[in-house]
């Protein structure tokens, strides 16, 4: 039986907006969109606003965006986001924050910012590309500037006590999501990869306290489930950004159960916790700077491989799908390195390039996964 909580949480991701956001706006609340795991959501939350993770959901084509970000060189995820912005789908946002996460998204932000009808708060929060003490200090200063800019732009004050409260709320989400991921490591996981992604997407698309409440309740129901046993193989999904549950459904429909991941709409987004003692700005900055690093962070491959290998082991995966969106060189190259490490450890891999969302070549993707399952004897 599908519970009310499960239904609510898994439906929220189907559209960009949802009833929670509509209610929030009706009550005069502001929503600030952000596009990367290096934007501290706690700051937005402490400002009394709703942090919303920008995604490409619902994009059915990129004809407008392609006149700004080109389809011969720029990735379809960044183009989809820009298309949604240009067609007014993100008009419910009061502010937008991007990082210099990759060449595609940072340029996507600039093209968005250059348009006439944008939210009044369009902010770039630059993040260093190396993990050093100096880099941490730089990032700390940037996070401070971001906080100052929020305060100035919206005429508010972000107080330490609110930051501390936000830390607690966001840590609770992370702990709950970790519990969810732990359940997936069971022999018969009570939740599929697609459903997990839907829940994750809900976490970044609605008031967080409400999400935590629903997820707490849902976890009780999930624990009581019988568990999925009719799968052919336990798979891990890594690589480029994926906010599309259908991609995972495609894999799961043919028997490959996705039991873990290393994705930025996945484990990399919530795995690490804020310190709850000390200066909240220090704690938040350190958490975001040192969290499981994105391939954009140089010199951090060992940390990424450590996480990858431990997730493979924890979830007892039979194989790893390393996917990258066309033109995503960060993951395209990273996948080669991760594939080498995995194969050295005897873990079968499938490395595949794809397009995002509406541009996806789903038939080819499905066939390649099917071939992979057969290849690993499942």
């Amino acid at each position: 039986m599908v519970t009310k909580e499960a239904e609510e949480l898994t439906q929220i991701c189907e559209t960009l907006s949802n009833p929670y956001l509509e209610d929030w706006k009706k009550e005069g609340g502001k929503i600030v969109g952000y596009a990367c795991t290096y934007v501290p959501e706690e700051i937005i939350h402490a400002a009394g606003m709703l942090p919303y993770r920008i995604r490409g959901t619902g994009c059915v084509g990129t004809s407008l965006a392609d006149t700004w970000l080109t389809r011969i060189a720029n990735c379809s995820f960044a183009r989809s986001i820009l298309e949604l912005a240009l067609t007014g789908e993100y008009d419910f946002l009061d502010g937008v924050v991007f990082n210099n996460g990759c060449d595609h998204t940072r340029r996507g932000f600039e093209n968005w910012k250059a348009q006439q009808n944008t939210p009044s708060f369009m902010y770039m929060l630059p993040v260093p590309h190396v993990i050093t003490d100096d880099g941490l200090q730089w990032y700390r200063e940037e996070v401070n500037s971001f906080k100052d800019a929020m305060e100035q732009s919206f005429g508010i004050e972000i107080k330490d006590e609110k930051l501390k409260e936000a830390v607690k709320v966001y840590n609770e989400t992370r702990s709950l999501l970790k519990q969810l991921y732990e359940l997936r490591t069971q022999k018969n996981p009570p939740i599929s990869g697609a459903e997990t992604l839907k829940i994750l997407l809900a976490s970044v698309s609605m008031p967080r306290e409400k999400f935590n409440q629903l997820l707490r309740e849902l976890l009780i129901e999930i624990r009581s489930r019988e568990g999925i046993s009719d799968y052919r193989a336990r798979l891990m999904l890594v690589g480029s950004i994926n906010d599309d549950p259908e991609l995972i459904e495609l894999i799961e429909d043919i028997g490959g159960l996705v039991v873990t991941d290393s994705l930025c709409f996945g484990a990399r987004f919530f795995w690490d916790l804020d310190e709850e003692t000390g200066d909240p700005m220090d704690s938040i900055t350190a958490r975001y700077y040192y969290h499981i690093p994105c391939p954009r962070m140089y010199g951090a491959l060992p940390q990424r491989l450590d996480f990858l290998m431990s997730a493979v082991k924890e979830a007892a995966v039979d194989g790893v799908i390393l996917q990258s969106i066309k033109f995503c060189d960060l993951h395209g190259v990273e996948n080669v390195l991760e594939q080498k490490a995995l194969e050295k450890a005897g873990i079968p891999t499938l490395k595949i390039e794809r397009e995002y969302g509406p541009l996806a070549d789903t038939g080819r993707f499905r066939t390649r996964v099917q071939a992979f399952l057969e290849q690993i004897g499942k």
Binding site: H104, R107, E110, T132, W138, D329, L337, E353
Partner: protein
Amino acid sequence: MVRTPTLWEETAALMGGVAALPEDVSALEALAADLPPDAASLLKGFTNPHYVKMSIVGLKIFNTALTSILERRAQGKKVAFYCFNFPRELLDAMDMAPVCTEAAGIIPVLALGCEQYIDAPINAGLPDSICGGHKASVGMIIEEAEMKPDVIINAGPGSCDPNAKLHEWMAETWEVPIFNLDAPYYHDERSFQYYRREFRRMVEGLEGVTGQKVDYDRLREILENSNEQVELYWEIQELKKAKPYPLSNIYCVLVELMKYIWSGRPEAVEYFKIARDTAKDLVAKGEGAFPNQRARTLWTYSGVYFDMELFRWLEQVGVAFVQDCFGWYPDKVIDTSSIDTMIEGLADRTLNQPMTRQHKGAWDGPAGWAEDMMFLSKELDIDACIYSGNLACKQTWGCLRLITDKLKNELGIPTLRLETDILDKRITPGSVIKEQIEEFISTLG
């Protein structure tokens, strides 16, 4: 068993004939006639009659640089790969064999054509959307393991994802140490201070890993040469403003190569002196470097390198290649009075290298792509821009419309958008590029 020569050895042997050339066009043409098509095309790019002396010095430097690296490597010196946006002077002063990653592939491509090397990384699983400049270099080492580096300096982080990521891949794959220089997003004093600390961290790390210290007396000597280059570069920038345009189109290409492979060496200084003297002489006489000039162009990215004859062809159809973004070096003279001033000067210069300077931050930020292209367009009285859209270059493609609209709306300058790979002639051939340029220039009136 007879050892097969490496690609570099082969290139050096092929280019050996250049060293003995007299300074006249017919000798260059005669040599070209004896060479395979790619090498012949390379030489034909250098046949502007006014600039034969400069061209031959430039061509000899190709050869000298290659030979020097091969010799240093044979002597057991550490081979250090660095991105084109890093100053080789430091590595020279550490008595290493400095190899510019991009030039390592570009030079053999120019001389020999080497599609098999460009394809090798793709066969190794890397995405086909990485840069042609890296594909050739990486392919060369995949095919010829003995060319692999001992250490890598990655100056790409912040300004170019594929560049930076490829250097990381090289270090991991060949198990060599790498030093990542993080370019900050802004271009202000805080950023320069951050980058100076990054640079010092890199120097210390490099010394620690290689056991080779910077010889600061040698560095001073090298920097004095490169300072002279800088002064000559600025003098030539002034001469570029003359009409008719007094420089050969090949000058800009060679400026880049001087920076990438031989900066700080007396031969590079000589190259700039000859270019300056020749241009000065033509300006004094009121002459251009080629007749019937129709358009002064700014190439907002780089030139197209797989067909060097293109640069001479442009002259023949009256198009001046006045400036490209990759040849824009707003360098300052480095104070060589102390170790600190030299290291900080090098760090500052690195942050101002092409690509790092323009693409680490916002397209319209200080020292960003727009600011530089607008400045150069006005400063050099440009008639038209050409974007040699290297398909790997996501950060320029991603804001191309913004910049072309700005150039058009604010200065009335149109931009031709080419879709190409600057090193791989199989994407858009030279013949198509020529057709597109001719058609574009004909619309300028």
